[in-house]
């Protein structure tokens, strides 16, 4: 259906189902690391699990401790299997690296819809 090119933050190959939000995500305090469910009040994804999804969002926000939360989620098997950002920042970038989750940014995230089948391979995204 389409191909997008971005910038590699953490290199890898992964295929899965997209979960898209137009709102920034705070992993520390905003996501329950034990279940992978978004718990931030009023967030578009409140109550939705990001576990095993390819999570598509503009960027991170909140406490720098969020990097460690992603690491915890990876260890708990509640983390997303891949991530895509519009323009990333330190918290999510560091979180993806220490958790070894394939991660690309500089992507027009409006081109991806929730439920799309997606393949991330290095700096390339295929949408099926």
């Amino acid at each position: 259906m389409g191909q997008l090119k971005g910038r590699i933050i953490y290199k890898g190959k992964v295929e899965g189902e997209a979960l898209v939000t137009s709102m920034p995500i705070s992993f520390y305090g905003g996501v329950d690391p034990n279940t992978g469910t978004v718990i931030e009040k009023g967030h578009e994804l409140e109550g939705v699990s990001i576990k095993d999804k390819i999570l598509v969002f503009p960027q991170g926000k909140g406490s720098t401790v969020g990097s460690y939360t992603l690491y915890r989620m990876k260890r708990n098997n509640t983390a997303p299997i891949g991530m895509i950002n519009k323009e990333t920042e330190t918290i999510v970038a560091v979180g993806a690296i220490i958790s070894e989750i394939p991660f690309i940014d500089k992507i027009d995230v409006s081109k991806i819809k929730t439920g799309n089948r997606i393949l991330i391979e290095n700096n390339n995204i295929d949408i099926f």
């Binding site: 910038r7 933050i9 953490y10 690391p33 406490s63 720098t64 401790v65 990097s67 460690y68 939360t69 690491y71 915890r72 989620m73 260890r75 990333t88 920042e89 330190t90 918290i91 970038a93 560091v94 690296i97 220490i98």
Partner: protein, 399 residues
């Protein structure tokens, strides 16, 4: 970003897991912020030490790095969530203490000095003018950049650790001359009479110069403790972690006055106090030492509290580094403060200790301390050291 052969080898894992992860972090941040290369750093200050903030996730990650990670440069540590020796007296639970000790143990294994202070510059981590360092802890970052004239971005815990394992940091942001140019002229048209006025000034400038580098004129003199307090306040309430004060801070004579001008008048300082101070009388928690008390501040406390008693139902904490407390021990200051019913809180502070629900109303000299204590649901009063010690003795503010 261009890497040397040695850096490339580190990235390929030739020096083990911790160094490879560190290179990955430094390269990614360098790419995100447009750095061309990595530069050597003279020292590192690592934040993210309190188990209260790290949780098990942070502890697990630190543990994984400690397996083969050793720091390559002088590395000091931010405050922990408790006094590492005297935690019981400060009401910390045994469960918390056990986890906090595991965090400290991981840092020990990495070769980090367990200094547990936000004032590394008072205990031997003192960068020189124009020296590149990689520090986290916003008040210390601001002090290093502004008062010492060293160069550091505002690192987070993991990026500071990465810099320590590699001895380098990506060259972007405040490491470069072009990003250290002030963008707003702050004319101060008021006089100061006490330490907390500097906290109020930081609040006022933070609000008027959000995310900017202020060039401040109109201040005739400043002392170490005043600048220490101002650094913590101005960055907490909004500016970038760098400022210049004409004729006082290094490099101020090399910068030209920015066109954009804001003025700080008596009314701005009063508004700052009004915003920070809640309408309360009863005080059950007095905490001084945000940033950590210098030995001079401890002398001041001793002079104020000698022969008095802290009111029952009110706690007085003196937050400082263990290194400074050892000086206080030798001089007999510790005995005087403890005899009066005050407690030392070494290695920790009111911003990172697990204090939610423990106290209702805080009195402090620190504007930054008020900011974080409000997150712990306390009402706050900010004033001079004298007002704070009087509140500890009477259990009331301003009586």
């Amino acid at each position: 970003m261009e890497l040397t052969k040695q850096e490339q080898a580190m990235l390929n894992g030739e020096e083990g897991y911790a160094v490879r992860k560190s290179l990955e972090i430094l390269v990614a941040l360098g790419e995100i912020f447009g750095a061309k290369n990595l530069i050597d750093v003279g020292s590192v200050q690592v934040s993210g030490v309190s188990y209260h903030n790290l949780g098990d996730a942070g502890l697990e990650f630190l543990d994984s790095l400690a397996k083969d990670g050793k720091v390559k440069v002088l590395t000091t540590l931010n405050p922990a969530g408790m006094d590492l020796e005297n935690w019981r007296q400060l009401g910390i639970t045994a469960e918390f203490a056990e986890k906090q000790n595991l965090v400290i143990d991981a840092f020990q294994r990495m070769g980090i000095l367990v200094s547990c202070t936000c004032t590394p510059y008072l205990i031997g981590n003192l960068p020189l003018y124009s020296e590149h360092v990689a520090w986290s802890e916003s008040s210390a970052v601001t002090f290093a950049n502004s008062v010492l004239g060293a160069r550091t971005n505002r690192e987070g815990g993991p990026s500071a650790l990465a810099a320590a394992f590699v001895g380098k940091t990506p060259c972007y942001g405040l490491h470069l001359n072009e990003n250290r140019v002030p963008d707003v002229h702050v004319k101060v048209e008021t006089e100061f009479s006490k330490l907390s006025d500097w906290g109020a000034l930081g609040y006022a400038i933070g609000k008027k110069a959000e995310n900017k580098i202020p060039y401040i004129t109109g201040i005739k003199t400043a002392q170490l403790d005043e600048l220490k307090s101002f650094c913590a306040s101005t960055v907490t309430y909004g500016t970038k972690p760098l400022f210049y004060i004409k004729n006082i801070t290094p490099g101020s004579d090399q910068q030209t006055l920015p066109k954009e001008t804001v003025t700080i008048e008596v009314s701005d300082i009063k508004n700052a106090y009004d915003s920070i101070n809640d309408n309360i009388d009863e005080i059950d928690f007095v905490c001084v030492g945000c940033p950590h008390c210098s030995i001079k501040e401890i002398q001041e406390i001793v002079n104020l509290i000698q022969g008095k008693k802290v009111k029952e139902g009110t706690e007085l904490w003196v937050a400082t580094s263990r290194t400074v407390k050892q000086l206080a021990d030798k001089r007999g200051y510790t005995v005087t403060i403890e005899t009066a019913g005050g407690k030392f809180a070494c290695d920790t502070c009111m911003a990172v200790a697990p204090l939610e629900g423990r106290f209702k109303a805080l009195a402090t000299t620190s504007a930054k301390g008020c900011f974080y204590s409000r997150q712990n649901l306390m009402k706050t009063k900010m004033g001079s050291m004298k007002e704070c010690i009087e509140a500890a003795v009477s259990g009331k503010w301003g009586n």
